[in-house]
């Protein structure tokens, strides 16, 4: 009994059309990364479990795909292991699949630190795997496109990463909002204005509700998370002031009142002001409510959202102070951004931005009906290819109607018909598959015609 083939849930096959679309996204991101001097690295799909474990929190550990050791993996397993999946797992699976590109980067930097020239501007575009519950837009195998600068504190890096965001989405034709904030600003509000009643993490959770809930609900949440007298009196004003500020200048002025007793807060504000000028006010928005995984980031944070599609963030990033500490290399600062390939793909599809994308490599099919016409077609195909023009010659002897059906289904733009009459006259018939129009051309004329892009 042959088995009915299937693929693991949460994974996907990609057809030629889908590969072309995804390649277009990847190539665009890659070209902008390279325009800014970032260089590619690649790391193995498998990492040692000790590299991965404990880096993504308890939940993350559960989502790691583990690879069974080869051979007699049970050897050495004792009774307690055989009763407990998680104990046995660490005995029988020494390797796991890459969960993101950040931990592999940290490992790479530490392992190769003597070969690397710092600041290290690397990009990496590879798949990652997570044993997450699959749902719409969430897969167990998906791609990340990351760019990071390791070993430089300068906000020039932040400026360039924000400009990369701007340029990539401009190339895609996706209207986006790029927002930026600094952790010290949130720390300063928390410690100075709110007198520590709300921790920075709680403050983030509260502010994060602003675009979904009204002020009353937000204040209710603030109370639940520990907000007291100070929070009651200050937070509504802060929210109100920010809501009224429409541009960067107004937002910086508004926030200034709430952080001006913290030197760190003021310093980070000054850095953000400079950053926004360098990148240009029209391209990036200062958003003091932006938090973005504060546990991980320690400085600037950035996020990109689509203006015309509700789908969450298309990318994000920030500065982290101790990427490599866990692997024994302390004091290395980095800043990076990530693009989510799958969401960008979904947005482009929804906005119809793939419509003009050429997804078939070959636009020209040569058809024939007997030995002589095949010989003529074969010669023409070779001549076209030697000029770098992609084409196909139908491989089998078949009726013209079948060959044209193939051309239609595969989306060829033009078909060259070589029949009796064509062989005699030396004029091939070139059929436009869209309009149905047919013209006669000599071999020389065909070869001289570069197909339009």
């Amino acid at each position: 009994m042959p088995i009915k083939p299937s693929i693991p849930k949460g994974t996907r096959d990609f057809s030629p059309k889908q590969v072309a679309q995804r390649q277009y996204i990847i190539n665009t991101i890659r070209s902008v990364f390279e325009l800014y001097g970032f260089e590619p690295i690649e790391t193995p799909a498998m990492e040692n479990m000790e590299t991965l474990t404990g880096k993504y929190g308890e939940e993350g550990d559960k989502l790691l795909f583990k690879i069974l050791n080869s051979g007699d993996f049970l050897s050495g397993a004792d009774e307690t292991m055989l009763k407990d999946s998680s104990k046995l797992a660490s005995h029988i699976a020494e390797k796991g699949l890459r969960y993101d590109l950040t931990v592999p980067l940290a490992r790479y930097v530490v392992m190769h630190r003597h070969e690397i020239t710092f600041p290290f501007k690397r990009y990496q575009i590879q798949p990652v795997w997570r044993a997450d519950r699959p749902q719409k837009g969430r897969y167990r195998e998906f791609w990340q496109c990351d760019a990071d600068v390791i070993g430089s504190d300068s906000i020039v890096n932040e400026a360039e990463l924000l400009m990369i965001y701007d340029e990539v989405f401009r190339k895609f034709g996706i209207a986006v909002t790029i927002r930026v904030n600094h952790r010290d600003i949130l720390d300063a509000i928390s410690s100075q204005s709110l007198k520590g009643e709300l921790s920075p993490t709680s403050l983030i959770r509260v502010l994060d509700q602003l675009d979904k809930a009204g002020v009353d609900e937000v204040m209710e949440m603030a109370r639940r998370l520990g907000g007291g007298v100070q929070t009651e009196s200050i937070l509504p004003h802060l929210i109100n002031d920010l809501a009224r500020s429409s541009d960067n200048k107004a937002k910086f002025e508004a926030i200034n009142t709430y952080i001006n007793m913290s030197q760190q807060g003021l310093d980070s504000e000054a850095r953000l002001r400079q950053l926004v000028v360098w990148v240009s006010n029209s391209k990036v928005q200062f958003d003091p409510t932006l938090g973005r995984g504060l546990d991980y980031y320690t400085g600037t944070v950035m996020e990109v959202t689509a203006n015309d599609v509700q789908i969450g963030s298309l990318g994000g990033g920030g500065r982290y102070d101790n990427l490599t500490g866990v692997f024994g290399l302390e004091g290395v600062s980095g800043v990076g951004i990530s693009f989510g390939l799958e969401r960008i793909h979904d947005v482009m599809e929804e906005l119809g931005l793939f419509e003009n994308l050429e997804t078939t490599s070959s636009r020209l099919l040569i058809t024939w009906f007997d030995k002589d016409s095949f010989e003529a077609g074969w010669k023409l195909a070779n001549e076209l290819r030697s000029q770098g023009i992609a084409c196909e010659i139908y491989p089998d002897e078949a009726k013209m109607s079948k060959q044209l059906k193939y051309a239609d289904a595969k989306g060829f733009k033009h078909v060259i018909i070589i029949g009796d009459e064509e062989l005699k006259s030396g004029n091939f018939t070139v059929k436009d598959m869209k309009t149905g129009e047919q013209v006669k051309m000599t071999r020389g004329e065909i070869l001289a015609t570069k197909p339009e892009k």
Copy 2:
């Protein structure tokens, strides 16, 4: 205690230089595939174990990387499983990593047969994983680059695949020998000339020794594998006749004597003769001793070897009659070729063919020393990038010597120096990092200079 980072044995990190070299190989192969009308598909890294198991022989099954089920995988495991690794494995690992690109192709074709237009000309360039013992040139994660035509019996496909081999290696600058044979020719020799004393498989093993051993040793092996009276009298003549035949024409004539009682043998010879004419005699060699995994292939077989480096085959392929039968779709014939990325890389390295490859994306570094010179440099960097010219501006305030050291280590071709004098005069200093030569250029002049490729 921080852990000392490492990667699983048999896997590799790739530095920017190595990624550039590998991308060059992949892009070259991809562009030639597309020139011949092949279209890309991609399949998941993980396949269900039932898709993979039993397709690669007993040895292959052992080399599959299995992925541990998530959650409480031991649930439902009984006593007998807990005593036997291989029994437990099939209970706790439902997925495995892709072992090659052929089985995923077969699964893909069957699953998507209603969306596919046949003949289906697909290519696939993705990593595969095998739990093989790592050694020089053999890795546990490596890439395959495959092109196959599914659903067409025509030898036009074989001709195009052979031309792809020729064109790809010509682009790389690697001198190769492309050899071709047909299984029916070996069958005819075995059954007609040798009266079945040697099975086709045994005959292959014997003939395969010819380039390493003398005729005596080869005959000794033939005897061990079952060769009798007929083999003793015929095989030495066959070997001798082939050795004397230097070109395709002579080889076809020589082999003809040994297969002319088998219509199938003669038919396949005629097809090969036609094939060699279509591809051109200068590009491909008929080699009646070529076997190449006969268990799998059922028609034409092809192989490419480097002329100037001893490393085994750089690629191979052939025709198979029943790719998809195991998944329930009978009667689909296919023919395909594969390129081995790792070996091609090793050969190119050994022959020095990467020497002229640009492996750094950015060739231009802008240096600065204070706020004013940074502003001028930043403006220039943005103007260059908006023209599509990749460049970097050094991100940190640092001594000129440190910035130049960075430029040198990263292999920049040119450095733009913006100092006091440059700011005053409006003439930037452009330093050629190879010759040390410095010239003065205005911003306009720099922008007008496209960096040479």
